[in-house]
Assembly symmetry: C2
Homo-oligomer: 187 residues x 2
C-alpha cells in the first residue's frame, strides 16, 4: 500500500472513531490526513470507496494486534479474542471505528456487502482454529466450531459496544468474554 494511501486511511479511522461515520466529510478527512481532497478522490473515487477501504483498514489493524505470536491451540483462540478488548488508544480507536461502521450499515446499504465479507472472514478464521483445537482434543469433542465462532465474535462486538458506550468496564467485558470462551470450548 502506498504511504499516502495508508496515511489517509489512518486518518479515516481516527475521524470515524472521534466523530462517527456520519461525521466523515471528505474535506475534514483531507485536513486530518494533511493531504488534498483531490488526492483522496484519486485513491478512493468517492465517499463509499473511502468507507469500504476504511473498513478493510480497521480489519487489518485489528489483525496486527490480535495476532498472538507463538501461541497454539486453545490458548491461541483465547488470546485472539481477548486482544480485541484492550485499553490502549490504538485498540480502542480501532474497536470504536469497527462498531461505528457496523452500526452505520443499518442506514448505509453500501457498507453491508464489505462488512458481511469481513465478518464472515473473521468468523471463519476463529472457526478453523476451534476445529483444529477440537481435533487435537484441546476443546470438547461436541463443540460446533461454526456456531461457537459466530457467537464468540458477535459477543466481542456486543461487549465492545457496551464498553465504548460506558455501560461496562473493560475489565468486566474481558471477564465475561473469558467465561464465554470457557463455556463454548468446554472443560
Amino acid at each position: 500500500m502506498s504511504e499516502r494511501r495508508n496515511q489517509i486511511l489512518e486518518a479515516a479511522v481516527r475521524v470515524i472513531a472521534q466523530d462517527g461515520v456520519r461525521g466523515l466529510r471528505v474535506d475534514k478527512l483531507a485536513a486530518a490526513a494533511g493531504v488534498s481532497t483531490a488526492l483522496i478522490y484519486y485513491h478512493f473515487k468517492d465517499r463509499a470507496g473511502i468507507l469500504s477501504a476504511a473498513l478493510e483498514h480497521v480489519n487489518h489493524r485489528a489483525q496486527t494486534y490480535t495476532e498472538p505470536d507463538g501461541l497454539d491451540g486453545r490458548e491461541r483462540i483465547e488470546a485472539i479474542l481477548l486482544r480485541e478488548l484492550q485499553g490502549d488508544e490504538h485498540v480502542r480507536e480501532t474497536s470504536i471505528a469497527w462498531g461505528e461502521l457496523r452500526a452505520s450499515a443499518a442506514f448505509d446499504p453500501g457498507l453491508r456487502a464489505p462488512l458481511r465479507a469481513t465478518t464472515e472472514a473473521w468468523s471463519a478464521d476463529i472457526e478453523a482454529l476451534i476445529r483444529a483445537a477440537r481435533d487435537t482434543g484441546a476443546c470438547a469433542s461436541g463443540v460446533d466450531a461454526a456456531d461457537s465462532a459466530e457467537r464468540l465474535t458477535a459477543l466481542v462486538e456486543g461487549l465492545s459496544e457496551r464498553w465504548h458506550s460506558g455501560s461496562l468496564t473493560l475489565e468486566r467485558a474481558r471477564e465475561l468474554l473469558s467465561g464465554a470462551i470457557a463455556l463454548e470450548l468446554g472443560p
Copy 2:
C-alpha cells in the same frame, strides 16, 4: 403518559430507526409527529431530553413484546430473550433504534448514564429469572446468574446489530441465541 407525549416518542423511535440518532432534528421530529416544535420543547426541554425519553420509550416498547404471558422458569427466560429477535416491523424498528442509541453513546456522553441504567435494569431482570430457575432446579446449579444474564443480553445486542447490518439472517441469529441460552443455563 399524555397522548401527545406518546405520539412524539413513537415518531422519535421511527425517525431514529430510519435516519439514526444523528438524523434526528427537532423540526424533522415535529413533522413526523404532526406537532409543533414548541410542543416538543415543552415536553422534553431540549434534544438531550428527547433522546433520553426516546431511550426509555424504546425500552418500554421492547418490554411489551418480550413479555411471555403464562410462561415460567427456563421457558420464560428463553422466550424473553428470543422475542428480541423477531421479523415484524414494530420489533425491527425498536431493535434498530436501540442499537443506534447504543452506538451513538460512543460519541454522545449525555446518553451514557440513561443507557447504562437501562442496560443494568435489563440484565438484572434476566439475572433474577435465572437465579429463580436455578433455585428450582430448572437451570444447572453451577450457573452464575449475573454473568450469564450480562453475556446473554450483550449477545442479543451483538446478534441484533449483525442482523440489522445484513451480516446475519434473523433465523441464524435466533438459532445462535438459542444455542447460547442452552450453553449458559446448562442441560
